[in-house]
Symmetry: C2
Subunit: 203 residues, 2 copies
DNA sequence: GTCTATAATTTGATAGAC
DNA sequence: GTCTATCAAATTATAGAC
């Protein structure tokens, strides 16, 4: 049963958790932002703040996964997709005053050693992103094992760039990480056309 | 004036902030861990929790910077140094039950949009690490501008790998990031001896 | 400088009227 | 299901005895 109030609460939680993290976000702030009555929190989420946090993580994870799919469309150039994705992340960062980076990273670090349900949710979201990216890279002709390693490497670059960018108040790390990641994809891609420097023979 | 109590408080704060983050760490827990009287917090740190947090960040930053220097010693092979550093990070992660990763990343994300003094402290620590790594890479013969970009890229990989590793409860991201970073250093290094694949001519 | 008691506020969570 | 009043506990911070 879909409830509009319930949805608003999850969405408001997702946004607040992205900007502030889990510990800094109070349930009162959530209901205020969601224009929901206070009691609704415990009506819809009997597990309290922790259950709400878990659902918000999964919600954010699915949304960001859809954003990923928007760039890595089947058949498109994965190098260009990588460049565009990082450029978009940098723009979002700048436009939000360096508040909107990864929707779950802050929470992931905060609760990693204190909430097993939330930690598990974060892990599943990260895995889903890795699977999606690896799938796209494999579709572009990269051997599956290498595609997975490359996807992990790209996600590491992105997440780390977010940490540095928010602290430094600069998009430079995201731009550097984007160039590095795009180059890595280019290197891993099987050679299709001419004038390609390395020219490593490939089955 | 150096005070043993004051030092213990800063050290205890650094450890707790690394494992739990800023918001989850209470001043009572800090004094308990430091075996210090409660009043000492506000005697030594009139600025309260925020000032203490700032000092803890700078303390952790200096310590971790020394660790970096331990690997990237002048004259040594930066590729081996990179491999060793990431391997060490993975070991620390595993041995601590995935609690000890970057000493300031969690706090950096948490307070990025809420505490300017602490955000600035995190930024200065990150800059110092980048400068140190870039200096070592430049000493190894990499052109300064490229050395700086490479250092940023490596730090992004490391920080992102920490985020993933803690959530996934796996050192795989750190190992992947380590291999990627070591390879990037190898590529950027001027060719010295024979049997090197690429062989890009260099001044 | 050390240490305790306590203030002032905020937190997550619950009870119960409607 | 909605909404309000309120609880018990925990938080940072302060006052003041020693």
């Amino acid at each position: 049963m879909a409830s509009a109030t319930r949805d608003r609460i999850v969405e408001a939680s997702s946004e607040l958790l992205r900007k502030q993290g889990y510990m800094a976000t109070g349930v009162k702030q959530i209901v205020a932002e969601a224009s929901a009555p206070f009691g609704s929190i415990y009506h819809f989420f009997p597990g309290g703040k922790e259950q709400l946090g878990e659902e918000a993580i999964r919600h954010s994870g699915a949304l960001y996964g859809q954003l990923l799919d928007l760039f890595f469309v089947p058949g498109a150039d994965p190098v260009a997709a990588t460049e565009s994705f990082f450029a978009g992340a940098a723009a979002t960062l700048r436009e939000s005053g360096y508040a909107d980076a990864c929707p779950i990273a802050t929470v992931a670090l905060e609760i990693s050693s204190s909430s097993e349900p939330m930690r598990r949710a974060c892990a599943e979201v990260f895995e889903s992103w890795i699977d999606a990216a690896a799938g796209s890279l494999a579709e572009a002709g990269i051997e599956p094992g290498r595609a997975r390693t490359l996807a992990i490497s790209m996600l590491c670059s992105l997440e780390g760039a977010f940490v540095l960018a928010r602290a430094l108040r600069s998009t430079e790390p995201v731009e550097v990480a984007g160039r590095t990641s795009a180059a890595a994809v280019r290197e891993a891609l099987p050679v299709r056309r001419a004038h390609h420097r390395a020219g490593r023979a490939r089955g």
